[in-house]
C-alpha cells in the first residue's frame, strides 16, 4: 500500500480531468482533486512516522486553497452569467463573435 503512488494516480486523474473537461464546474472540481492529491502525499508521508509536519502543511495549504477557490468560483459565476452558459467551447464561440464585431467596428 503505497500512498505516493496513490497520490500520483489521483493527480493524474485530476490533470486529465482539468485538460479534457468542457464544463467550468468540472474544471474547478479537477483543481480541487489536484489539491487533495498533493496534500494526501504530504500528510501520509510524514504521519506514518509520527511527525506532525505534513499536518501543518495540510492546514496551511488547504486553507489557502479554499480562499483561492472562493475567488475562482466568483470568477466562474461571473463568466457563466455573462455568457449564459457553462461550457467552455460555447463561451469561446461567443467571445470570438464579439471580437469579430469589435474589429468590424
Amino acid at each position: 500500500m503505497d500512498f505516493v503512488i496513490l497520490s500520483l494516480v489521483v493527480l493524474g486523474i485530476g490533470i486529465y480531468g482539468l485538460l479534457t473537461n468542457r464544463n467550468l464546474l468540472k474544471v474547478f472540481i479537477s483543481i480541487e482533486l489536484i489539491a487533495i492529491a498533493a496534500t494526501l502525499n504530504f500528510v501520509t508521508l510524514t504521519s506514518s512516522a509520527g511527525v506532525g509536519l505534513g499536518q501543518a502543511y495540510l492546514v496551511l495549504a488547504f486553507s489557502t486553497d479554499t480562499a483561492v477557490s472562493a475567488v475562482i468560483l466568483g470568477l466562474l459565476v461571473i463568466v457563466s452569467r455573462r455568457y449564459g452558459t457553462g461550457d467552455i467551447s460555447q463561451i469561446l464561440k461567443v467571445v470570438g463573435k464579439e471580437e469579430g464585431e469589435d474589429e468590424e467596428q
Binding site: 485530476g14 509536519l53 468560483l73 461571473i78
Partner: protein
Amino acid sequence: MILEILTIGLIISACLALFLDDAVYSVAALAATFLFTALIYALDGAVFAAIFQFAVGVGTLTILFLSGELLSERAVKKTSSSKAFGLIGAGVVLSLPALFLSISGATSAGVSINFGDALWSLNGMDVILQGLVILTVALGIVIVLYERRNSGK
C-alpha cells in the same frame, strides 16, 4: 485491509466526480472523495488533519452545490448507468497500482519538528503572503466588476 478499501473508494469517487454529467452528483462524488481522504488521514494517525480537511471541505462543497446549477450546461442529459458502471470499473483498475506497487526509498521525513513549530514559525510568513495575494486578486476583481458595472450603464 480498511486502508485498501478506502483507497479504492477514493479513486472511484474521484473518477465519478469528474465525469458524471449531472452537477449535483458530481459534487456529491467530490464530497465522498473528501470523506475518504479524511478517513485515510485518521487511520494514519493524523486526526487533526482529518477533521480540519473535512470541516473546511464542507464549506467548499456548500458553495459548489449552490453554484453547481449555475455552472452546469443547459441541456443536462441523464447519466446512463452504463457510463456510471464504466467509471467505477475504471476507478478500480486505476487503484490497483497504488495497492500493489511501491516506490523504493520513499520513507518518512527524518526531521522531527513539532506541529506548532511547523505550522507557524516555518510557514507563517508564507501564509501571510499568500493571503495578501489572494486579497489583492479579490480586490482586483471587485474593482473590475465595479468599473464594468459603471461603464455598462
